[in-house]
Every structure is written in structure tokens, then in C-alpha cells.
């Protein structure tokens, strides 16, 4: 070795801290977990119907449903906010997870369908005598659970591999994802595809042997959704606060620089893309038993665009923001569609325009702008 260069000075360095959650963040997280996992189910199950703090079926189902949407928005933020990949086909992965769970729920109906047959009503209607091969094993919950992860995961992996390897980016990628979900919607609309055509799956009776509409089952599904959402949030925080997260944003901001210092963007994009799709699939699987129906409408391009709106309204690249965005937009939707049903889409469009113009960092940006918070 030569004598080292004369160095001006060596500053003693401390590695910058990248906490998974800050201390106030952990406090908020634990409080939210307590409310979602303990208080709401208790107020729903234990308090009598007349009690002022009793929560209705409607409230619990609606909140559970929105938590599923929030998980999708979170998954969307992981790839859009952190990796800069705008997917306009995330509704597809959500629907695939939902269909996988739906197959299990259909088989759990048993002989209690309208035709009292071994087969689901729509197959009887089509005059089918046996289940198609791809329905095999779906009467087992474990297999359905596996399918919930694998169907969106494998599709996303294969699609992503070819798209990212070909270096398809930006608006071109968005358009292809939009086309993908549209193509699947058309496929699932066909009766011959074997997934109930445009009616999809509905009239579920039970899940794991429990009656599906019973309050205790609803509460259990609500808690499961809460655990999934809170777990997914923590997982995403772990990823984005690791060096991996910094590589993702580096690829987002200057892909060629990242390549020339030795990172292969393909595997990074493919990893978050597939993880994001799997999270959507799990959200879809939790959604279907709570809402009681899954049909190809979930794959419509408009649905996927709405997911992007929740994420943008909440605030991209913040993880918590899109969760808030999903609650805000869907809360407003359920109120609006009752009060002024014909104006909902106008309102949604207006909201999107206003947020883009005045709140570029989303609703969560308002919180960060508070004067008593130090600039980050």
C-alpha cells in the first residue's frame, strides 16, 4: 500500500438512525392496535344493542371492508411511493386473492345452495357434472390460503419479470397493468371460465364451519383484518427503513446511477412488486367473507384507478398516509353515495384535483406541516 492520502480530517461518524417507528409512532401504533383489536370488537359483541356505545353490524362490516382497502393502498404505496412504479392494475391482485378465498367459501356452502347439489349453483345452472380441475383441493382452507398468496404472487412475479427485464417504465408500465386487469375482467366475465361469470361468487354460508354472518364470526374477521393491516404496515416500515428501502428510492430517483454502482433494478423492483401483489391478495381474501360477494367488477380498470387516488390523497411515500387516504375517501364515499349518490364521482374527481393542486404530499402532509413539528 502507498502511504494513504493526506486526509483533511476524519470526522467521527455516527450512523444515521432509521427507526422502524419513532417513539410517538410506537405509542400511536399500540393505541390503534388496542382500539382495533380490543375496543371495537368488545363494543360490538359485548354491549347490548341499546347501549350508546354499541357498534352496529354496519359499522363493523364497513370498517373491516375499509381496512382491506387500506391494506391495498399500503401495498400501492410500497411500489408507487417508494419504487416509483405506478400500477393501475392492483385491483386484479386484490380480486385474485378474493376469488381464491371465494372458491373455498363456495365449497363450504355444501348442499345448502338453491339446487341442493354437490356443485355451486352456477355450475348446476351451466349443467356441469363435476368440478373443473382447477377447483381441486379448494375445499381445504389451507389450500385456499396458499392460493390467496400464490395466485397474485406468481402472476405478479412472471408479469413483473418480463416487464422490468424489458425496462418498461412510467406511463407505459401503468397502461400495461391497466390492460392486464381489463383482460382478466373479460376472462372472468365469461361463464365458461368457471368462476361464476358476471355474478361471481355469493350466498356464502360459513367459513371454517362458523356461520358467516354471525356477530362472532364478523368480529373474528374484523380482528383478522386488523392484524393483517397492522402487520403489513410494520413489514413495510421494516423494508423502507432498511438499506433496501433506500436502494428502492435510489432506483426511483436515478435508476442508471443505481445500476452503475452495482444494483440490479430488476430484482429490487420484482421483489416489491410481488410483495405488493401478495399484500393485495391477502386483503382481497379478507374482504370477500366480510362483504359476502366477489365478482369481476373488482377487476374493472376504474377500481384500480381508485386505489391510486386513495394513495395520492393520503400522501405518497409515507405508508401511513395511504391508509388514512383509504379511510377518508371510502368514508366519504359511503356517506356520499347515500346522501347524494349521483354526485359521488364528481366529488371524487374534485377531491383528486384539489389534493394534487394544494396538497402535493397528501393529507398526511398537513400533519407534517404543523408549526410545532420540526422540519424533517
Amino acid at each position: 500500500m502507498n502511504a494513504p492520502l493526506p486526509l483533511p480530517l476524519r470526522v467521527s461518524m455516527k450512523a444515521p438512525a432509521h427507526p422502524v417507528l419513532t417513539r410517538p409512532g410506537w405509542v400511536a401504533y399500540v393505541i390503534t392496535a388496542y382500539v382495533v383489536l380490543v375496543l371495537i370488537p368488545s363494543a360490538y359483541l359485548l354491549l347490548p344493542a341499546g347501549h350508546p356505545l354499541h357498534l352496529s353490524d354496519y359499522f363493523v362490516t364497513l370498517t373491516g371492508k375499509i381496512m382491506c382497502y387500506a391494506m391495498v393502498a399500503l401495498a400501492m404505496d410500497l411500489i408507487w411511493g417508494y419504487a416509483g412504479i405506478l400500477s393501475l392494475g392492483h385491483g386484479l391482485f386484490f380480486a385474485l386473492g378474493g376469488y381464491a378465498m371465494g372458491m373455498y367459501l363456495m365449497r363450504s356452502i355444501g348442499h345448502d345452495g338453491v339446487y341442493h347439489s354437490d356443485l355451486p349453483d352456477f355450475m348446476v345452472f351451466l349443467d356441469w357434472k363435476t368440478y373443473p380441475w382447477y377447483w381441486s383441493l379448494t375445499d381445504h382452507f389451507w389450500f385456499a390460503a396458499l392460493l390467496v398468496v400464490l395466485a397474485p404472487g406468481v402472476l405478479a412475479f412472471v408479469f413483473g419479470y418480463f416487464a422490468f427485464r424489458s425496462r418498461i417504465k412510467g406511463v407505459y408500465f401503468s397502461i400495461i397493468t391497466q390492460a392486464l386487469t381489463y383482460a382478466f375482467m373479460l376472462l372472468f366475465f365469461r361463464n365458461d371460465t368457471g368462476f361464476g361469470g358476471n355474478n361471481g361468487f355469493t350466498d356464502f354460508k360459513r367459513i371454517l364451519g362458523f356461520p358467516i354472518a354471525a356477530p362472532s364470526t364478523r368480529a373474528a374477521l374484523f380482528i383478522a383484518t386488523g392484524i393483517a393491516l397492522l402487520g403489513a404496515l410494520l413489514l413495510c416500515r421494516y423494508i423502507v427503513t432498511s438499506k433496501l428501502g433506500r436502494v428502492l428510492t435510489a432506483i426511483r430517483d436515478a435508476e442508471s446511477r443505481a445500476m452503475f454502482i452495482g444494483y440490479n433494478p430488476l430484482w429490487y423492483k420484482l421483489f416489491v412488486w410481488t410483495l405488493s401483489a401478495v399484500l393485495c391478495g391477502i386483503a382481497g381474501a379478507l374482504y370477500v367473507p366480510q362483504v359476502g360477494i366477489i365478482n369481476p367488477g373488482e377487476m374493472s380498470p376504474a377500481n384500480s384507478i381508485e386505489i391510486a387516488i386513495w394513495t395520492a390523497v393520503g400522501g405518497r411515500g409515507t405508508l401511513v398516509g395511504p391508509i388514512a387516504g383509504a379511510f377518508l375517501v371510502n368514508g366519504a364515499k359511503s356517506w356520499f353515495t347515500q346522501a347524494f349518490p349521483e354526485f359521488w364521482l364528481f366529488f371524487l374527481g374534485l377531491l383528486f384535483v384539489l389534493v394534487t393542486l394544494f396538497l402535493p404530499s397528501g393529507v398526511i402532509g398537513l400533519v407534517h406541516r404543523r408549526p410545532w413539528r420540526k422540519a424533517s
Partner: protein, 272 residues
Amino acid sequence: MSALHTVDSGAAGISGMRVAGAGVDTTHGPILYLDGITVSFDGFKALNDLSLTIEDGELRCIIGPNGAGKTTMMDVITGKTRPDAGTAFFGQTIDLTLLTEPQIAHAGIGRKFQKPTVFEQHTVFENLELAMKADKRVRGTYRARLSSVDLDRIADTLGQIQLADNAGRLAGALSHGQKQWLEIGMLLMQEPRLLLLDEPVAGMTDDETMRTAELCQSLAGRHSVVVVEHDMDFIAKIARKVTVLHEGSVLAEGPMDVVQADPRVIEVYLGR
């Protein structure tokens, strides 16, 4: 050879990027051979039978008018562009035309772009952390933690590029010259054997240019350095051997004063 830090086998096999051998074989002297490289874009020959050899530890300056093929040559060396004909070898054994950009980076070639390209949403510190030689696969990156050795390396590089006081600033907030230095610092963190610097002093003040010249000179010997530049004062200050490119091939090569006196060079470039 003692002047060169050895590339240990663990590091060369880094991340299973399928780089052949245990590092760069420079036993015969040269670290980079380009032979008969031709690149055409729609019939236009950006590089025309270009042959060039860079010795290990050398500081080489490459000049030439716009469109002479300087940047295209960098693209070929770093795997961004595949040549239509010719061979490009890094050391004796590594065929650059078969590798992808990240693989070439792992093999030990660092590149600074013409336009300074840093991660603007990351701090100066994080830019260096990301560039640091390490396992750059997804799983290894997820698990990565900074050791005290890593912190010292980052601190040393911060000193070398004179950004120690700006370690916590966002790279996007740096001045143009500071971004150029940060990018050079990122290259150094990769511990490359060969550094390609595309216009390192573009947009710099005279003072910054002088300091960059010192930096480039201090790098030669420990690394092989190829500098592409338009700034003749800068070249005159650092140059030992100069290569003049013209219309995609080498027009002249030699010490600065010899090249400057060459009538063909004066005609196509210096005289203008």
C-alpha cells in the same frame, strides 16, 4: 502492483454476479483493452474501429470534438451499449461485452456521468452508504448494517471530497460542483480499479476545478483513471498521456505537448 489494493476473492465473487475469476488480471500490464470497437446508430458510426489500451494505474485524458464518440466509448465500457464489432476486455480475462451494467460495476469499473447524477432525495452520507462496496443483492441489502469500518470509510471519503460538513444534507441541496464531487466520492466507495470520469469539471468554478485536478491526480496510481474533458486548462494541468478521438477513432495519442503540436489535431479540434 503494491500500489494497488488487492481485490480479495470474497469481494470479487460479490453477490454471485457471475463475474469470472477472482478479480482483475493485470499481470500483462493493461487494465483495459478496446480493440476494433464499432458502434453504429442508424448507419452513423459513433465509434469506428476504435482501439485503445489503458495501463494499470494510469491517468489518461481523452479529448475530442463533440460527436467524436467519447461518451459512446464510456457506454461500451460500462455495458450500456453493445458494440457491433470488436472486443472490450477488463484485465486479461473479463469480457465486458458479455456483462450487464451492475456486473461491470461489481467487476471494478466506476463511472461518473456527464451530468452529475446523485440520489437527490438522499443525504450525502446515504449516497456514499449506497455506493459502498457490499453485497448488493436484495436480501443482503435488507440485512445490511453499517460497521465501524464502514463508517470510517465513509468518513474518509467525505474528507477526500470535502463534504464532511454536509454529510447530513440532502444531495439535491448541494451546489453543482459539490454534486460532481459527491459522485466521484460514490465511485470511490465502490473501490473500483478503473474510474471513468465524464467531464468532471463541467460547470465548476476555477477554484473547484483546481481542487478537482488535485483529486484526480491523487487518485491515479491507486486506481486507473480515464478522464473525458473539454476544459483544456484542466487537461493541461493533470494530463500525462492524452488520447484524441475524432469521428469514432483515435486520431492521436501521446504527451499533451506532442498532441497539441500535431497538425491534424490542431485542424480538427484545438485550432477551432
